[in-house]
């Protein structure tokens, strides 16, 4: 398997499951002490022994037959519901400066990897797209449902502003049953709709992982000279000297990120900021790690 993930190649990959698998396994490649090991009874696979694995996990019978060390792995039974809330507002169409990868695509890949890992662990996966044409798929564990989620995830388009949370009350009520909710968004809001959503999602039985996506241009404001900018969500336009406003923008950007992190911390939400221009493998590994940690806390 290729040890590095190529965003361009991934974008050309039409097989949704394969892409999710590549992303997830590529990100997890090289990690010792596989997280798939568990106390479940359903056999999953044999894999080669890796330093760090407990000796008790060795299949001695297989060693006797093949004279090689193998670890017997089993599917872990789980009743965790993994929900992915995807921001479907137009600001998610902001693309990276290096490639044409948009935040929406990046979020789709992240969620598909989470779904892949979760499905392999036997967790139920569900999707909620918070957009103008929001889609909602309840969490289930079946393989067909997993495929359905991947297809629905792949068909999500971004437009308009983040919707008012009052229209999503019904979906939110279903997200609060022993669930891990992963919110993938850039957290740009016209009012306080995203804050209200986070407050609504977080409960004692629900853990929330917020993944903030940003591009390099958003983080560093790499514009120069006189620019005329149009806001994606509202269509508002402003004309200004980019060099003159950069210091002020960066200061407000820092305040924005700090405030978001504080608001998440106040609600007990794990927050992760991901720059989509950074290597995808590293980011997805961090996201899956954070997802796994949050899932463990829910269990």
């Amino acid at each position: 398997m290729n040890t590095t993930l190529n965003a361009a190649l991934l974008a050309q990959l039409s097989d949704l499951e394969l892409r999710a698998k590549i992303i997830a396994q590529g990100a997890l490649h090289g990690q010792h002490a596989s997280r798939q090991r568990g106390s479940g009874v359903e056999f999953s696979q044999f894999r080669a022994y890796e330093p760090g694995d407990a000796m008790s996990l060795l299949d001695w019978k297989l060693f006797a037959r093949s004279d090689r060390y193998y670890v017997r792995e089993a599917m872990r039974e789980s009743n965790l519901n993994i929900w992915a809330v995807l921001d479907g507002s137009a600001s998610m169409l902001e693309h990276s400066s290096g490639s044409n990868l948009t935040k929406l695509q990046y979020a789709q890949w992240l969620i598909s990897a989470i779904f892949y890992v979760g499905h392999r662990q036997g967790d139920a996966v569900g999707l909620l797209c918070a957009g103008q044409n929001g889609a909602f798929i309840p969490a289930q564990t079946t393989r067909q449902h997993y495929y359905r989620c991947l297809m629905q995830l792949d068909s999500v388009t971004a437009q308009g502003v983040f919707p008012d949370t009052t229209a999503l009350q019904h979906q939110f009520s279903k997200l609060q049953r022993n669930a891990l909710t992963v919110v993938v968004s850039d957290f740009y809001q016209q009012g306080t709709e995203i804050d209200k959503m986070l407050t609504r999602l977080k409960s004692t039985h629900t853990d929330v992982l917020s993944i903030q996506l940003e591009t390099r241009d958003e983080a560093e404001f790499n514009f120069h000279g006189l620019v005329k900018m149009t806001e994606r969500e509202t269509g508002r336009q402003r004309k200004f000297d980019a060099d003159a406003v950069r210091p002020g923008y960066l200061a407000k950007r820092r305040d924005f990120n700090r405030s978001l992190a504080q608001r998440c911390a106040t609600r007990g939400i794990t927050h992760l900021c991901v720059n989509i221009d950074e290597p995808i493998e590293q980011n997805i590994r961090a996201v899956l790690q954070a997802t796994a940690d949050s899932a463990e806390s829910v269990r």
Partner: protein, 373 residues
């Protein structure tokens, strides 16, 4: 009052004004269009600063255009001229006043006329000399003014102020007693402007040598005063030689004035016989003499139109040379031009200083902003 330029071809340089304009338009940084996810993080106050920068650039462009315009106008020799047909003030000087006024009064009048770009008009008594009632009518000042206006309608315009310098002599005022000298003013209500220039002169200088033959009687002081006043008034370079008799070996002279009982002149207008009565009561004699001297110098000029010939006398000459020869008369080709050129230079200088200050201020603001950032 009208604007004029000495060299109208330089005005084509106004096309150069398009250069800074085009530079400004082409150097204007076109705004690059971008679609951005969230504009709320972009500080608004910095955008206002951008508009201030744009305003500064426009101000700079205006100053550059102003500077260039001032330079072009300066090169073109912009000046403000008062057309002859639109005189604001005309001094009508009677010969008697000229003869009786003191030198200080005459100098004051000439200086005032020079500064105010005004003109002095002496009535040509030739116009009324043929009239039969010379003693009763032609010598009356008001009648002379009327005659002059009748023959010189184009010299005055609507709103012009006519000032008459006269004496209280019986020959000037019939039935009126006024202090000496006296100034009477009329405000002309309506007069159609008209310019009727005379033919140009071909001579380059007006020098005249006049012999006064004081035999059998000497020249009266009034006559001498009037003759002396003739020089600064007309710009004539008059050489007056007083002799008991005309020397026989003298063959270069322009006029010979003999004081005798009869008033007559020779057919060639060079020898004048002036009686005592003529040079005392008929004080317009110096004007007639000057008229003859001008004619002898081939200046086709009548003293009654002294304001016009002044320009025309100087026209074939350089302004400097003309100014030297006509020190007493207003000279729009010399003094006025230099004064208005100085105005153009002043405008150019002010524009340059403003441009420099603007540049320094912009640099200061830019550096200060950079240090704050």
């Amino acid at each position: 009052m009208a604007w004029g330029v000495s060299d109208s071809t330089v005005l084509w340089a106004f096309a150069l004004l398009a250069v800074p304009l085009l530079i400004h338009l082409f150097s204007r940084s076109k705004a690059q269009s971008h679609v951005f996810s969230f504009l709320a993080l972009i500080p608004v106050e910095k955008m206002r600063q951008r508009s201030r920068i744009a305003l500064t650039q426009k101000r700079l462009l205006a100053l550059r255009i102003l500077l260039l315009s001032a330079i072009i106008l300066w090169l073109a020799g912009l000046h403000i001229t008062t057309p002859y047909s639109a005189q604001d003030e005309i001094h009508f000087i009677t010969p008697s006043w000229l003869a009786n006024a003191t030198q200080a009064q005459r100098d004051d009048l000439f200086e005032k006329a020079d500064k105010a770009n005004q003109h002095i008009i002496l009535p040509d008594t030739h116009l009324v000399a043929e009239r039969s009632s010379l003693q009763d009518t032609a010598s009356n000042t008001w009648h002379r003014v009327g005659e002059w206006l009748r023959y010189q309608p184009g010299a005055l315009s609507s709103g012009a102020q006519l000032t008459v310098y006269a004496t209280d002599a019986m020959t000037d005022y019939v039935g009126q007693k006024v202090p000496l000298p006296h100034r009477v003013q009329w405000q002309l209500i309506s007069m159609i402007p008209k310019v009727d220039p005379l033919p140009t002169s071909t001579s380059s200088a007006i020098h005249a040598t006049v012999y006064l033959v004081e035999d059998p009687q000497p020249a009266a002081p009034a006559f001498m005063a009037a003759l002396a006043a003739l020089q600064p008034l007309t710009g004539l370079n008059l050489t007056i030689k007083r002799q008991r008799d005309l020397p026989e070996n003298v063959d270069v002279f322009d006029a010979v004035i003999r004081f005798s009982r009869e008033f007559e002149k020779s057919p060639d207008n060079r020898v004048w016989h002036v009686s005592e009565f003529d040079h005392t009561t008929r004080a317009d004699f110096p004007l007639r003499l000057a008229d003859a001297l001008f004619s002898a110098a081939q200046h086709n000029i009548a003293l009654s139109q002294l304001t016009v010939p002044h320009d025309l006398i100087t026209s074939p000459l350089s302004p400097t040379a003309a100014q030297e020869r006509n020190v007493a008369l207003p000279n729009p080709m010399s003094k006025d031009l230099s004064a208005n050129s100085a105005t153009s230079e002043l405008i150019a200088g002010i524009a340059f200083i403003l441009l420099l200050m603007e540049r320094l201020f912009s640099e200061f603001v830019t550096r200060r902003r950079a240090s704050h950032d």
